[in-house]
Structure formats: C-alpha cells, structure tokens
Amino acid sequence: MSWKGDYVFVIRNLVLKDFRIRYRNMSLGVFWSLLNPLVMLGVLVFVFTRIFKNPSPVYPVFVLCGLVPFNFFSSAWISSTTCIVDNAGLIKRVPFPREIIPIATVLSTTIHLFLQIVLMLGFALAYDRPPNRYWMLLPVVWLPAVAFLCGLGLICSGLNVYMRDMRYVVESVVTVMFYLVPIFYDFSLIPERFRTIYSLNPIAALVLAQRTIILAAKAPPETLMWKLSLSSLGMLGLGLLVFQKLKRRFYNYL
C-alpha cells in the first residue's frame, strides 16, 4: 500500500480528536485529569501518614513521584490495547498505516501526563523542593517511557483484535502493578533478593529516577538511564515488528 501522507498532521488530528471528544461535554474540562491523582494522593497520604505512621515530611511529593508514572502507564496501556478494536470502522474503511492509531492513542494520554507532571512539580515547590538543574533530565526520563508504551501499545492492540479478552488481562496486570511498583513505599524497603526483579520493571525505574531528581536533587544513576533508554527502544522496535505481522489480518477479524 502506498500511503504517502503527512504523519505529523494525521497524528496531530487524531490526538486533537481524542482530546476534544473527551472534554467537549465536560464542564470541568481538563480539571478531570488532575482530579483523579489528587483524590488518590489524598487517600494514600491519609492511610500512610495517619493510619500507618510515616515520619517523612514530603510524603505527598514522594507519592506523586510514583503515582504520576503509574497513572500514565495504566491509562496509556489500557486505552492503546483497545484502540484498534475501538476504531474498527476506520480500520475497515480507510486505508492508512495502522501503526498510527496506537501511537496517536499513547500520545494523546501524554497530554494528561503533562498536566500531572505540572501538578507534581507544583507540589515539589510547595514542599520546599525548589527546582534544581537535574529537572532538565526529566524529559530524558519521560521520552523513553513514551516510546516504551508505544511499543507495548502496538503489540497489545494487535493481539486484542484476535483475542478480545486481552484487555481484561491488561487491566488485571495494571491492578497488580499498583502494589508491585514502589508508589507508596520506598525502594530501600524492598528486600535485597527481590531488587533485581524490581530493577527490570520499567515503571519502577521511572519512579526511582524521578525521586532521585526531585527529592534528592541528584542525577539518577547512569546505568538506570541506559537501561531505561535501551529497553524502551527495544520495546518500540519489537512493537513495530510484531504489529507488522498482526495487521495483515485485521480486516478479517474486525
């Protein structure tokens, strides 16, 4: 198929579409993107400072450093998994590169991510963690995460066409991940023998990098950054490769 279109223009339009559809009929608009993390934050802070005693004075910032990456992973992963099936009408009727759909879906969740990062940095300021020069590393930490999710989204959206219960598998994994990612607890609490497994978890790596930058005002370890970048590129490559195979029979199965 020879589609010689303007990828940037299509992705822009699709992201705008998602954004408009989601907010056009909402009186609170983008505030909804912030409401969910704020409520979660309130609950977690209540439980882990009032019920379980916690001496950390910056606990809300600490939690947000974990919650923001987790929210991005879960919403981007779930929405990209169902995106091909959700857009079946488009896939069956308009010939354009199918890869665009999962990628645009992941990119439209980055709008919410951006708002939540602003919220997180706002809390950092309020809790006496002023900007330091390592804040400039934050995009370097986030970019691989977005690439990683594009790869993951490509694979899962393709598989979901052939096995419609894929989305339930993803939803269950996300629920479990909430506890397995150090969101409301610290890395130092993890027993030595489980640390290697934890370091393989890309969300955990992201959380660790953010806490090092924002709370400790230090550069994250170089090995961590390398692992994050390489695993993300690998995932994106794998995603594109697998999707190439899967997309040929979308028409028959949608």
Binding site: D6, R20, L90, R93, V94, P95, Y162, M163, R248
Partner: protein, 244 residues
C-alpha cells in the same frame, strides 16, 4: 498505463473470523482442527487502465465489496497479488472516519489527513470542499446534528475534492436528493474526463450505464464476464430474467 492489477487473487475468510476469545484459541490448539474456510474471491484476474470507469456488478455476496477492500489496500489476499499505483480515495461507507462529536470542519481535516494529505494541501482545498457540500454554517456544528444526507454530501465532497488518482465507491451515489446526485454526477464526469480512474459497485443499471464504460460481473467470487458496460449489463439482466 495499468493502475490496478489483480493476478489470480483469492481471498479466503475463516468461518469463525470475527470476535474471538482466548478460549477459542485454546480449544483450537487442542483439537488442531482445520477451521472451515470460505472463498470470497477465487482466482480473480483483471487489470484496469488509467482513465477507465469500471463498475463491478453481481448479486449480494458475490465478492464485490471484498474486491474493493483489496483495491483500497484495506485487506490482503491469501493468494495472488494485487497492485495499485496512485493515490486512492475510497468511499466505502458514508462518513467512515467521521466522528459525530467533531464539527464538520474538524472532520474534514481529520479525514483529509487520513487520506494522505498534508496540512497545507488540506487548508488549500477546504473552502472548495465546504462550498461543494452545501453545508453552510453547519460546518462549525458537530456532525451529530447533521441529517444523513448532509453527512453523505460532506463525505463525498471531501473524497472528490481531494482529487485522488483513483476513486473507489461502494453504492453511495444512490443517497442524497436529486439535485445533489446531479451535482455528483457532473463532478464525477469531470473527474474521469481528466484521465482519473473510477471503480464503483452499483446495483443501479441506469447509474452504471451513465457513469461507466466497463463492467466486471462477479458471481460467487469468480469473474463471469468482463467487458463493455452495456454488454455485461444485458447479459446480467438476461440471467436474472431467466431465473425470475
């Protein structure tokens, strides 16, 4: 110049195709049974030259829509090859790719970009698209508020004004009021007059006679006859008369 070429094309659907759950895959894995298959197209070959106006006729289930989906690059054949050169605009279903919560204007941009046009090209053509559709001020309202005819006019207007090399339509010109149909016909004639190619599926013999010079008659996934539109239509009508 040949713009569309089908070489011994077969399109096979598995009977179970469609919604499947993990348990279906597991069951199949254990049984290792061959799934029942259905040949939507069998060993179909033809070529379409630039500037031809081709109708595909046949009864329901003959493989017409499957043929269009292969031409449009929406699906791949299980056997044989399909080659298409040039930019294709496919109007297979009214307003596919339109989202009812977006305004007409937003839908034009989205649709144009999906059809492969840059931002600049789209903005350059947008006035003509709106003008041709006759939507007027509604262009800034969500298309949820449009009538079926208005959606159809907008969809057609986008596809034809984007000036593709090949226009593929599936039984769409029978919708809309007489005045707009007249306008579409005029526009299609201008389009094909400029050496562009058109392939359309139609059940309307009158439409086929005025719009097309060639017809391909499909039956149960095979080509029965391929030739001058009037000849093929006559043969098709005869067959129908005998069985009726």
């Amino acid at each position: 110049m040949t713009v569309i070429q089908f070489n011994n094309v077969s399109k096979i659907y598995q009977r179970h195709s469609g919604q499947r759950l993990l348990r279906d895959h597991i069951r199949e894995w254990f049984r290792r049974s061959e799934a029942q298959s259905f040949h939507a197209l069998e060993d179909v070959s033809f070529r379409i030259e630039a500037g031809e106006r081709v109708a595909i006729v046949g009864q329901n289930g003959a493989g017409k829509s499957t043929t269009l989906s292969l031409m449009a690059g929406l699906s791949w054949p299980e056997r044989g090859t399909v080659s298409v050169s040039g930019r294709v605009a496919a109007l297979l279903e009214l307003g596919s790719g339109f989202h009812h919560d977006l305004t007409g204007m937003e839908n034009i941009k989205l649709n144009a970009s999906l059809l492969g046009f840059s931002r600049k090209q789209t903005l350059g053509m947008i006035d003509e698209i709106i003008d041709f559709s006759g939507i007027g001020d509604f262009i800034h309202a969500p298309i949820r508020t449009y009538s079926t005819g208005m959606v159809m006019r907008l969809a057609f207007s986008v596809a034809i004004n984007l000036n593709p090399d090949i226009l593929i339509t599936d039984e769409i010109l029978t919708v809309g009021d007489a005045a707009f149909q007249e306008k579409c016909l005029g526009r299609i004639q201008r389009f094909t007059g400029a050496g562009k190619t058109m392939v359309s599926v139609s059940h309307n013999p009158g439409m086929v006679k005025t719009l097309c010079d060639r017809a391909i008659w499909l039956d149960h996934g095979r080509v029965v006859q391929d030739g001058k539109a009037s000849d093929v239509l006559e043969a098709y009508a005869d067959r129908f008369a005998v069985s009726a």
